[in-house]
């Protein structure tokens, strides 16, 4: 089976652009599985956050999936197009990564 990931990319100050990738998959695999395969096989510069991969414990992989805030590690890949974008209400870092750490756990503290 083949999924198409339509991914919003770019860093702050750049005009965001969308890039689409074909991702072969097996039923049951997650969006995160697809993103990791993309980095490994196509574009290692693609940025997204994750830590625990399976357990849904770290809660780092949140993004906008088909317009809805969700975890990339629990939403499954599907045939056809899935759009991915960074969280809208958080400061953009790059591609799908946003600043999600609590404000007092960042290097640059707002004074």
């Amino acid at each position: 089976m083949k999924a198409v990931l339509d991914i919003r990319r770019g860093a702050p100050g750049e005009t965001p652009h969308n890039q689409t990738f074909d991702v072969p998959f097996e039923p049951g695999q997650s969006i995160l599985d697809g993103l990791r395969a993309l980095r490994r096989d196509v574009d290692p510069s693609l940025a997204f956050r994750f830590a625990c991969i399976n357990a849904n414990a770290c809660k780092e992989c949140m993004m906008l999936i088909d317009g809805k805030v969700d975890y990339a590690c629990t939403v499954r890949l599907k045939e056809g197009v899935t759009t991915l974008a960074p969280l809208p209400k958080k400061a953009l870092v790059r591609d799908l990564v946003t600043e999600i750490a609590p404000p007092d756990e960042r290097l640059h503290l707002k004074s």
Partner: protein, 562 residues
């Protein structure tokens, strides 16, 4: 940017958070840095099962019984002082966590304790349902907020420890969201970076468990110990793809409900491997090592399941019994399209925990003054194999101890931060060149495949030799100049830095594995089956220039205070 602190704690899992809390209580200023978010990046938050401590509330128990089980599992190689520390101080930490409202499950008025494999009695506490890790992490995060003087910094990856005149004086780090180089001056530095199981293709690791701390220690001049002992968990989930659940989730199922392991001929093969001299662990036919052996041998003989493991079946268990024991989990399985009453799942051994690690003394200090280590990052307490439930306990106990000792040292000693000593690491980061071929993320996958195929649970001289040669080639291929993609969240640079560490750490596993010509605990040599008494020795490994040097020592026995 340059920061200063009394104590720098690297890694915010159970060990690092406990260390930060205790160092702060002892009056030190603390920076707690994690390459991921605080309390989320490592194994602690993922743990689902139990934590061992001889509380003795429900039935009589003593830390000495716990110690004798721990030493038995370690097959003669435990550092007895460290093992005793875990067992003796574990109950106090478990009660402290209870007072901090972690929510240990209750059995009437007592904290509930279950009997986990390898323990001689019901000794293991837990948080319902399969929530031990998240509860522990949340509780420690809350305590961190309550103590003053701990500066928590997420997204900060420590790249190297700075050592001047044989003393640790801080670290060089990269701030991931901006790629800014950060130097941190510290009187005491604590490595609390967790384990290395990401080195293997099939693992229970998070993305941050490539073994950074071992590489940091080696490059700082501190030796590692028992690195050949990587624990494989026999029945990691393999197929069908399960999301939102940890791959080690089948253990409690199997333990409570007695799941059957079947090969492709639907034959229940476990009994074929049961040895008369082997102590059965409670409801299991085989111990973890033997189950790993049995599954691997069935696969080798061409009787594996389609995905390359064994089938696990609960079809003999009535549906209502399954639901009664694991209701909420049954629903999550249903969401994954799995019905245990009618379906088999596939399981295989996966890398799960590392017994080896940074060598420390009873103060949790390495041979580099001011450099401490704790948690899964240290070696010694578990010898050749770990008892289930001991890992979280050791994270608490060693974390707390390291925190206090590091703070005490900070009161006595003065930092001598050295720009000159920090220069090589800073220059390394500055020298990064834009480049992404070969794809470094692919190289990580290649490394994981190599380790699984050649340095897995069953080893031979030939496979280990091939692994070491391939690791040397890969190390040459990545060179000494980092690769980079883009300024903020530079994934290519992070992969390159991971490879730099993972390749060194992988070699520090393969080299002692090749030297140990016997089979013991988690280190099994097909060409040297059976335990050899003359190998009742620990191996240590240290970096000398580009060379890894091995040494042997007699396992440290306990100094009983007079």
């Amino acid at each position: 940017m340059h920061l200063e602190t009394d104590v720098l704690v690297i890694g915010a899992g159970g060990a690092g958070m406990y260390a930060a809390i205790e160092a702060s209580r002892a009056g030190a200023s603390v920076i707690l840095a994690d390459r991921s978010l605080i309390g989320r990046g490592g194994a602690t938050v993922m743990a689902q099962m139990t934590v061992a401590a001889a509380l003795g509330d429900r039935e009589p128990d003593s830390w000495e019984y716990h110690l004798s089980d721990t030493l038995a599992a370690g097959r003669g190689l435990c550092d007895e002082t460290l093992a005793a520390m875990v067992c003796e101080e574990g109950p106090g930490r478990i009660r402290e966590m209870d007072a901090w409202k972690v929510g240990w499950a209750r059995d009437g008025e007592h904290i509930a304790q279950v009997h986990a494999p390898g323990h001689d009695r019901a000794r293991c506490v837990y948080v319902e349902v399969l929530s031990t890790g998240p509860a522990v992490s949340k509780t420690l995060r809350t305590q961190l907020n309550l103590v003053s003087g701990v500066r928590r910094i997420g997204d900060l990856a420590i790249v190297d420890i700075v050592v001047e005149d044989g003393r640790a004086c801080g670290a060089v780090a990269i701030h991931i969201p901006t790629s800014e180089i950060v130097t941190i001056a510290a009187t005491s530095v604590i490595i609390a970076t967790g384990g290395l199981t990401r080195l293997y293709r099939r693992n229970s690791a998070s993305s941050n468990m490539g073994g950074d701390g071992y590489a940091l220690a080696l490059r700082a001049g501190a030796p590692l110990i028992d690195m050949e002992f990587v624990q494989f968990f026999p029945i990691g989930h393999l197929a069908p793809r399960l999301v939102g659940m940890d791959p080690i989730m089948w253990d409690p199922f199997r333990y409570k409900l007695g799941g059957k392991l079947l090969n492709s001929e639907m034959h229940e093969f476990e009994t074929d491997y049961a040895r008369s001299d082997q102590r059965s662990d409670g409801n299991y036919v085989l111990t973890r090592d033997l189950a790993t052996y049995a599954i691997s041998k069935e696969v080798e003989a061409g009787r594996g399941s389609p995905a390359g493991g064994a089938y696990l079946s609960f079809q003999h268990v009535p549906e209502d019994v399954i639901r009664k024991s694991f209701g909420p989990v049954v629903d999550r399985l249903a969401a994954n399209g799995i019905d245990l009453a009618t379906q088999l799942v596939e399981v295989a051994p996966i890398a799960h925990y590392h017994m080896g690690g940074v060598q420390v003394n009873a103060q949790l200090e390495t041979n580099i003054e001011g450099l401490y280590a704790c948690g899964e990052a240290i070696g010694g307490a578990n010898g050749a194999n770990r008892l289930s439930g001991n890992a979280i306990t050791e994270a608490f106990v060693f974390g707390a101890r390291a925190g206090v000792n590091a703070a005490e040292r900070a009161k006595r000693a003065r930092t001598r931060w050295s720009d000159a000593a920090a220069k090589p690491a800073v220059a390394l980061l500055r020298s990064a060149e834009k480049r992404d071929t070969p794809n470094p993320a692919h190289l990580v996958a290649d490394l994981q495949a190599l380790m699984a195929d050649k340095v897995g649970p069953f080893r031979t001289q030939q496979k280990l030799g091939e692994a070491i040669a391939a690791l040397d080639d890969m190390t040459k291929a990545i060179g000494d100049q980092p690769w980079s993609s883009a300024e903020p969240f530079d994934t290519v640079l992070l992969d390159w830095l991971d490879l730099r560490n993972m390749l060194l750490v992988a070699k520090s596993v393969a080299v002692p594995a090749l030297a140990r010509t016997e089979s013991r605990g988690a280190h099994q040599r097909d060409d040297f089956p059976g335990l050899d008494d003359s190998w009742t020795l620990n191996q240590t490994i240290a970096l000398a220039g580009d060379r890894l040097d091995l040494a042997k020592r007699v396992p440290s026995s306990r100094k009983v205070p007079v």
